[in-house]
């Protein structure tokens, strides 16, 4: 059986790759994809902890399913926002979206 730590390391890597992408990418769509990476890393954590440490419970799996559903809905909303930003501003490059400031 694959040790739990392998999964956790993978999840941690995915999480920080997501965080890095979130902070550094210039394109709103790429930022959105990065958040998906973060979410999926968390989902892996849920599943792994459930399967390895509390095999008699199912809450972790349910939570994972729930998070995937929510993520799908959230992505749809985010895409809609991005489309509207593009319509209004003519760009989705984060460098140019700096209107909300002092």
């Amino acid at each position: 059986m694959i040790p739990a730590e392998y999964y956790l390391v993978l999840a941690a890597l995915m999480f920080f790759i997501g965080v890095f992408g979130f902070f550094t990418r210039r394109n709103l769509l790429a930022v959105l994809i990065s958040t998906e990476l973060i979410l999926n890393a968390i989902d892996i954590n849920f599943a792994v902890f459930n399967a390895y440490y509390y095999p008699e419970h199912l809450e972790g799996f349910f939570f994972t399913m729930f998070a995937i559903g929510i993520a799908a809905a959230e992505t749809a909303v985010a895409i809609a926002i991005i489309l509207n930003v593009y319509r209004n501003m003519g760009t989705i490059r984060l460098k140019n979206l700096k209107k909300l400031k002092f």
């Binding site: 965080v19 979130f22 902070f23 979206l97 909300l100 400031k101």
Partner: protein, 641 residues
């Protein structure tokens, strides 16, 4: 007597109608509303007086005090409450007659005087407001209601003095009147609060035991109230506003600044008279000395003025001072033993309101005819304005104290009261009375006799020296002459009213009898004053000789400048109060109090500026800060908790 409420309600309703809808009404309708309501008020006042005095005295020989209405307006404690109501007693009924009569005359007169003026409706609205407040003042059931209406009277006076609001002098005069009287009213209010606290009531009939135990506080409270009264009644040195108040329309001067509002101070002292005489006789005598000085001062200044309304204003100050003196020289409440002054004062108030109203209305007619207040534009007017001439002459004779005109009787009672107080006071006031006769007839001869300004100008025009044809003086229209004639009739007969039968210091009937010595001496002095004035001012030649001599005299010039009282006040306010007290306080406020607040604001603003760069608008940098925070929190949770 329940109908008396409409005496107050009608002017108020008329004010509301005229103030809210007046500007949409034509002039005649607006004036008609005001005059009609005042006519009804006057009739109701007469009915009240007839019913009240007709009902006769009670078993104790006094006229009963009737309170048809009394509502507790503000309950402050067990016994202390502020009421609003109507109280009828001899002096308030007398005042109702005075106010409604003069006010009605002024309303009718103003039809002619204010004809075609811009703001005619506003003028009538303010007149109604004034009449309402003045009537409310005299029928007040307690000192606080009196104070409320007292201030309302002040406001309407302010509004009416400043009626020509585009004229700079009028604005300054209205502000001056308001500020000076307000300043005096501050003392009045403090006096009322003292009185309310120690007497336990605001009513005019407090608990005798409380008053007796209050000691020195009651004289102090009454003295403070008198300062308020001195402000309204233009006693020295608070008289400075009254001459300037002549900037208002002349009928307003007749109503407010001669007949009604300015006697409010006298009325106040008369109202509090039982308490004055019982607990503060020394304050009362101080009032007499202040009044005597004011009477002399104003009479001297009146001799040197050239603006006819100013002469009348100073004459008003002097006559009101006579009333104050009469109240002040009372030594007991019994009219037979030193309490005569009370009756004399009220009598003079009554007759003075009529003949001074008449003088002002006559002056208004003259100003209307020659379009100026200055005596140099007048002279020889008796041919052009016969009705005004005769009525003005009657008023002058009345104020000078020539029998059988009303002023003689009331002034004689005042002088008798003065002589019984002390011979010095009597002689002093007789002297002032002689001066009164002199300056009134100086005014009379300068207006109606001597060389006519119009004729001089007309000759110049005929010779071709001036291009414009001068404008002939003309008699006033009937709306203006009718009130003059009516008031002149009242001035002729008012002296024969058996005044002591209605009003006296202890309420019991008093038979007026003339003191022969006083009467003869005062008539002699008055005639002497008139003859002197006639000698100097009747013919221009005499006047010229004297005026050359007089021009150089410093005393006359000082009197013309009212002995520099205004300048003294300006010095006190500007140099001492503004510079010495207000400036440092303003500095403290600006630099210490405001400075502290400004420091708080500047500090937080500077801090905000230093951190505003965080709000870059760059979402990703926000997220990095967020991440840092999360990491720090996580570290704290792991290692410290």
């Amino acid at each position: 007597m329940e109908f008396t409420i409409s005496i107050l309600a009608l002017p108020l309703i008329s004010f509301l109608i005229l103030a809210l809808a007046g500007m949409k009404l034509p002039h005649k309708v607006a004036g008609g509303i005001g005059t009609a309501s005042l006519a009804i008020v006057a009739i109701l006042s007469y009915v009240t007086a007839i019913q009240y005095f007709g009902a006769g005295r009670g078993a104790d020989g006094l006229f009963p005090t009737i309170t048809p209405y009394n509502v507790t307006w503000l309950p402050l404690g067990e016994t202390l409450h502020i009421d609003m109501g109507i109280m009828l007693d001899p002096i308030s009924v007398m005042m109702l007659i005075v106010i409604s009569t003069v006010s009605l005359m002024v309303h009718i007169y103003s039809f002619g005087y204010m004809k075609g003026e811009k703001g005619f409706q506003r003028y009538y609205a303010f007149l109604s407001l004034f009449t309402f407040s003045m009537l409310g003042l005299v029928v007040a059931t307690n000192i606080f209601q009196m104070y409320v209406f007292w201030e309302l009277v002040g406001v309407s006076s302010y509004l009416l003095i400043g009626f020509y609001y585009t004229k700079k002098e009028a604005i300054a005069a209205s502000k001056k009147a308001f500020i000076v009287t307000r300043f005096a009213d501050l003392f009045f209010l403090v006096g009322i609060l003292f009185y309310g606290y120690y007497a336990g009531t605001f009513s005019f009939t407090p608990d005798v035991r409380l008053l007796a135990s209050a000691g020195i506080v009651i004289p102090v409270a009454l003295g403070l109230m008198f300062i308020g009264g001195a402000g309204k009644s233009a006693m020295f040195p608070l008289h400075i506003w009254l001459p300037d108040a002549m900037e208002g329309p002349t009928p307003v001067s007749a109503l407010i600044h001669a007949a009604t509002m300015v006697v409010a101070g006298v009325y106040l002292v008369a109202r509090m008279f039982p308490i004055f005489i019982e607990y503060a006789p020394e304050v009362l005598h101080t009032i007499a000395y202040i009044g005597a000085f004011t009477a002399l001062y104003a009479a001297v200044v009146a001799c040197a003025q050239t603006d006819i309304k100013r002469v009348l204003a100073f004459s008003t100050i002097s006559q009101i001072a006579f009333m104050m003196v009469a109240l002040g020289v009372c030594t007991s409440a019994d009219p037979h033993e030193g309490g005569l002054g009370y009756m004399a004062s009220m009598f003079h108030l009554f007759t003075h309101a009529m003949f001074k109203g008449l003088l002002f209305l006559g002056a208004g007619a003259i100003i209307h005819a020659v379009h100026s207040n200055e005596r140099s534009f007048m002279g020889g007017l008796r041919k052009y304005m016969p009705v005004t001439h005769i009525t003005f002459l009657i008023a002058c004779l009345a104020i000078a104290g020539i029998p059988p005109f009303s002023g003689f009787f009331s002034k004689d009672e005042i002088l008798t009261a003065c002589y019984s107080y002390s011979p010095i006071m009597g002689v002093f006031m007789s002297g002032v009375a002689a001066l009164t006769a002199f300056y009134m007839f100086r005014l009379y001869y300068m207006i109606f006799w001597g060389k006519s300004y119009y004729e001089t100008e007309l000759k110049k025009y005929q010779k071709g020296e001036i291009a414009e044809k001068p404008h002939a003086p003309h008699e006033a229209p009937w709306t203006m002459t009718t009130p003059l004639i009516l008031l002149a009739l009242v001035s002729c007969i008012a002296g024969f009213i058996p005044f002591g039968k209605f009003i006296s210091s202890n309420g019991h009937a008093y038979e007026i009898h003339l003191n022969a010595a006083v009467a003869i001496s005062s008539i002699t002095l008055a005639v002497a004053g008139i003859l002197t004035a006639a000698f100097i001012y009747r013919k221009d030649s005499n006047r010229v000789i004297l005026s050359v001599k007089v021009q150089s005299k410093k005393f006359i010039i000082a009197a013309y400048h009212r002995f520099y009282m205004d300048e003294l006040w300006l010095f006190v306010t500007k140099r001492i109060i503004f510079k010495g007290i207000s400036r440092p306080i303003a500095w403290f406020d600006k630099h210490i109090i405001d400075g502290f607040m400004d420091l708080l604001a500047t500090a937080s603003q500077a801090f905000s500026y230093s951190i505003r760069r965080f709000q870059s608008g760059n979402i990703q940098s926000y997220c990095i800060w967020f991440l840092h925070g999360v990491i720090i929190l996580a570290l704290i949770l792991i290692f410290l908790v």
